[in-house]
Symmetry: C2
DNA sequence: ACATGTGAACTGCTTCACAGCG
DNA sequence: CGCTGTGAAGCAGTTCACATGT
């Protein structure tokens, strides 16, 4: 196993996995790097390089066995187990995420939900009761949470993040539009929809300006 | 203006803008590249390089004027106008996006919403009526939509994308976990929450494995 | 013959270090 | 003196091209 794998490689592996699962459902038994590349919007060489960082999964002259490669990529991504996830923030975004079936299906189980609004605390979402954020640090440790999803307002997210880290959680998915400061041992990913929209705004104004 | 600007630069500019707006609210009049770097999780040199791609906005020995730089970055990102946005898919994610105040505040106005579920068609969200996806292509052209947000299931998203492109929309924000195939003149951004979670899964299993 | 796996070349982003200017 | 603006150096990710194996 190599020391350092780039973000981009990991992201592409996730995409390949989806295509592989689709091929599997359709009963396809073999794929070439070329086929994966077309679906993923990249090149065959890139696919082979990504995979070669973790081993040799293909057969020369033939391609990759779909079931074998699927299993291999799942394992690489650490999807062989259930991950215990906490959702902090039971607003609009939190609610959409809770209902998002894809997560559960991929082994991410939301085991607790927090909110600071007394109106919401005590309500049940499915079989999970919304708890008061006050007890967050303690509960996260007790529940052995692996990943925390932060869907809280930007002005409190750093404080929430600090408490999550204190509880020993090693990974954070942040929906607030700011950079979190965490120890290097904690993995952080961002989802920032406004930033994506602004990238589109930028692209659009460029082509207009060029006309 | 330079020919090619990287995705990463544009993303960072969006972040800088948020910090600048925050400084502005707090009445700070001047920032250094260093101050922006700390907030954005990058380096002072990177900030200066990003900005220098578009011009000289600072004063040597002093830093940047907050109001001036804010205005400059807004202009660079094309945020000086209202963008007309269509939301396709009125499910959980669509609903969360519709309510997401940040968009409107930054000049992205959702002017129409589509869904293919007859149950939903005809209902009103605020002052926008949900329309049948059947009339999508025609309506998008009539409404002069700039950007389409696709929050539809993965198995129909390519078809929806084709119709959106046909209507002449130049920018797409895609929430479905697949690569869209569009002409090079159309700008596409992705938001893929499962991919982000899988990156965390990958990171977590690495540190465990290393122990 | 065909498709993988991979060193080598290349491209482009990031970091460095310092000249330039307030 | 302090901080910006920027060529040059360094580094990382991508693409190329071919040896390797079926």
């Amino acid at each position: 196993m190599p020391r350092k794998i780039s973000e981009s490689t990991v992201g592409r592996l996730s995409l390949y996995l989806r295509f592989l699962e689709e091929f599997e459902r359709r009963g396809v038994t073999t794929v070439s790097s070329q086929a994966l590349a077309v679906r993923g919007g990249t090149t065959a060489a890139q696919v082979r390089k990504d995979l070669s960082l973790f081993g040799s999964f293909g057969k020369r002259g033939l391609g990759y066995s779909v079931p074998e490669l699927t299993a291999a990529v799942r394992k690489i991504l650490g999807l062989g187990r259930q991950w215990r996830v906490a959702l902090v923030g039971a607003g609009r975004i939190g609610s959409a995420l809770f209902e998002y079936g894809d997560f559960r299906q991929r082994g991410f189980r939301i085991v607790c939900v927090f909110d600071s609004d007394p109106e919401k605390v005590g309500r049940a979402w499915g079989d999970v009761k919304i708890e008061d954020s006050a007890g967050l640090t303690e509960k996260l440790g007790r529940e052995q949470v692996d990943i925390a999803i932060l869907a809280v307002p930007v002005d409190v997210v750093q404080e929430v993040s600090d408490r999550v880290v204190e509880a020993g959680v090693g990974a954070i998915l942040n929906f607030a539009p700011t950079q979190l400061h965490v120890p290097p041992s904690v993995a952080v990913q961002h989802v920032n929809m406004s930033v994506e929209l602004e990238a589109l705004s930028f692209a659009l104004s460029r082509v207009e300006g060029a006309a």
